[in-house]
Subunit: 340 residues, 2 copies
């Protein structure tokens, strides 16, 4: 049992039959602008507060993922959702709006793969038919909850990342046509005693390493078996650390590995190490990655969203930053003709 | 599908093979003192802060639940855990200590039944063998995060409840001997526009009603089919509201219904409406309720932990309090001879 402690195999191949991504204007000027479904001009989305904007972005994304799957909210059995705000209020209020049975998660920026894992299990085990899964973040709500008031205009350290304004959502189902979720590895909390809250990549990279190696061992695969290995938001520095850590363990990630945070912004956007936030990997996965699976560029993808599970209080009380990473393996369904 | 949208049936009957409860001294002087496994003299459990005490109480409880199941942490495939602190740090740091694959939840005070639902699914679907599931709260950490500094000495409104200091944990497995989890209903977010953060019972009662009625319909059962229907922490007022709401819908809860929050403290303890907090229903379920299933007092129990999904920020921005309730049905296994 120990050798296969935490990898779940989905023999009935649950499918991602709908997906959607919404991002803010800054993200819309990044590297994936032509892949995102919706780019907002107004980061507040017409709302009075950043938190209400984050909620509206998430609701908009969940709603359109369901439409993309040619379903209505009444067809959704369970909404699996989480976000970064205290008590995950964006998710909860979205669930309230839609009136759908709801499981709230907290996995920080690993939420998308934690959600996909649970969604795949709900469908694969034939407990329910359609699950909606998503997450989102907002730069400004995250800054003021976790860091400093924007009005302070603090200079950002070179190791920092930029929490993206955006959301991504998937509909997982036993019926319809979509790419397959075939397995998932639930990650452990790994902590290498990094205490610098402005260097999340370094804090999360060891967790990504742990989950990747566990997944390779449990599934008897190697990095080269995948067309793409994608971490969530380690950023530029964090993903370089991961490559080094993996090399030390005998795994070569130099060929087919990318990080959503590293890729999402262009080099001219001055975000330092790149993007972060639960919405980062969620929006990139639900746009670019699924599009590339659909057009055949990728056949087998290992999607590993990473999370830093600290709170402002845990840091204030001297704790280091615990990291986590859940990996989800997706295989191309060639019957998917249209990129949604 | 709509008629059975969100009730999961566990045909392989996952079992609760280990359980444990830890509470503070105030709870130890309440109505269930002889059922709790561990009553602390020191609410800080030797730690310097309330948050670190909450974490230690949860760790202690999780550890002993595993021991009670005659397992070690190495036998546990997944830890499913959540709590009330921002970014659920008690759960995360417990997961870090144990090095077990970890799924973090946020369901406020509904966490125990959200966790039992997911744990039962992980085992029932044969994804893994042993799942550890728990939650805990601390009066003093909750007060200062959600309400006021203790040092203020504020008078508490008559409708308020007292967040318990305590934790409860269960080990769910496909092997061994334990009472059976046979079904679970995932709740919707229900909001009757209650905005009084000192009246959580009123905010959560409509969600409990919604889940109870859904569960009865989906399982084709009536209240009288259960020996005990137990809500999480509606408290005295909230449970009276639930009885009234259910009566209006044609269901009689007057015979076999109790609420953990209402029962946990004695009348002389001046907690006003009784206990609350994720640790309330978790500790009562994992002590008194499982003991009464073991001695044959109960054969069929419907355990419905309830949660108020607000944050301080959502209230500050004028939002009302969304409620949720997940129901888990447990059936006695008469082979369980020893109350753990």
């Amino acid at each position: 049992m120990q050798n296969n402690r935490s990898t779940l195999f989905f023999k009935n191949k649950p499918m991602i039959i709908g997906n959607y991504s919404t991002v803010g204007s800054k993200e819309g000027h990044g590297n994936f602008s032509k892949y995102f479904h919706c780019v907002l001009d107004d980061d507040k989305f017409g709302e009075k507060t950043f938190e209400k904007a984050e909620r509206k972005i998430l609701e908009h994304t969940l709603n359109h993922a369901v439409k993309g799957a040619n379903l209505t909210m009444d067809d959704i059995n369970v909404l699996v959702c989480g976000d970064l705000l205290n008590q995950i209020i964006s998710s909860t209020f979205a669930a309230r709006k839609f009136g759908v049975p709801y499981l709230g998660l907290y996995g920080a920026c690993s939420t998308m793969t934690e959600g996909l894992t649970l969604s795949a299990m709900l469908v694969d085990g034939k407990y329910v038919k359609n699950v909606l899964c998503g997450t989102g973040t907002h730069f400004s709500s995250a800054e003021r909850q976790y860091r400093n008031p924007l009005e302070l205009g603090n200079q950002r350290p070179q190791t920092s990342q930029w929490t993206i304004t955006g959301a991504g959502a998937s509909v997982i189902s036993s019926e319809g046509v979509g790419h397959y979720i075939v397995s998932a590895t639930i990650g452990k909390v790994v902590d290498y005693d990094v205490k610098d809250v402005n260097n999340m990549g370094a804090a999360m990279a060891p967790a990504a390493m742990d989950t990747l190696i566990t997944h390779f061992k449990n599934t008897n695969t190697k990095p080269e078996d995948y067309d793409l290995i994608l971490t969530g938001d380690l950023g530029k520095l964090g993903s370089e650390i991961l490559i080094d850590l993996m090399e030390n363990k005998g795994y070569n990630l130099r060929e087919n590995y990318c990080d959503c945070g590293h890729m999402v912004y262009s080099d001219t956007q001055k975000t330092h190490q790149g993007g972060s936030g639960a919405g980062c990997s969620a929006s990139v996965f639900n746009s670019y990655v699924l599009a590339k699976l659909t057009d055949g560029s990728y056949k087998r993808v290992l999607f590993c969203a990473t999370g830093a599970l600290l709170s402002t209080l845990s840091s204030q009380q001297g704790d280091s930053i615990p990291g986590i990473c859940h990996a989800v393996e997706i295989i191309r369904n060639e019957k998917v003709k249209k990129w949604r």
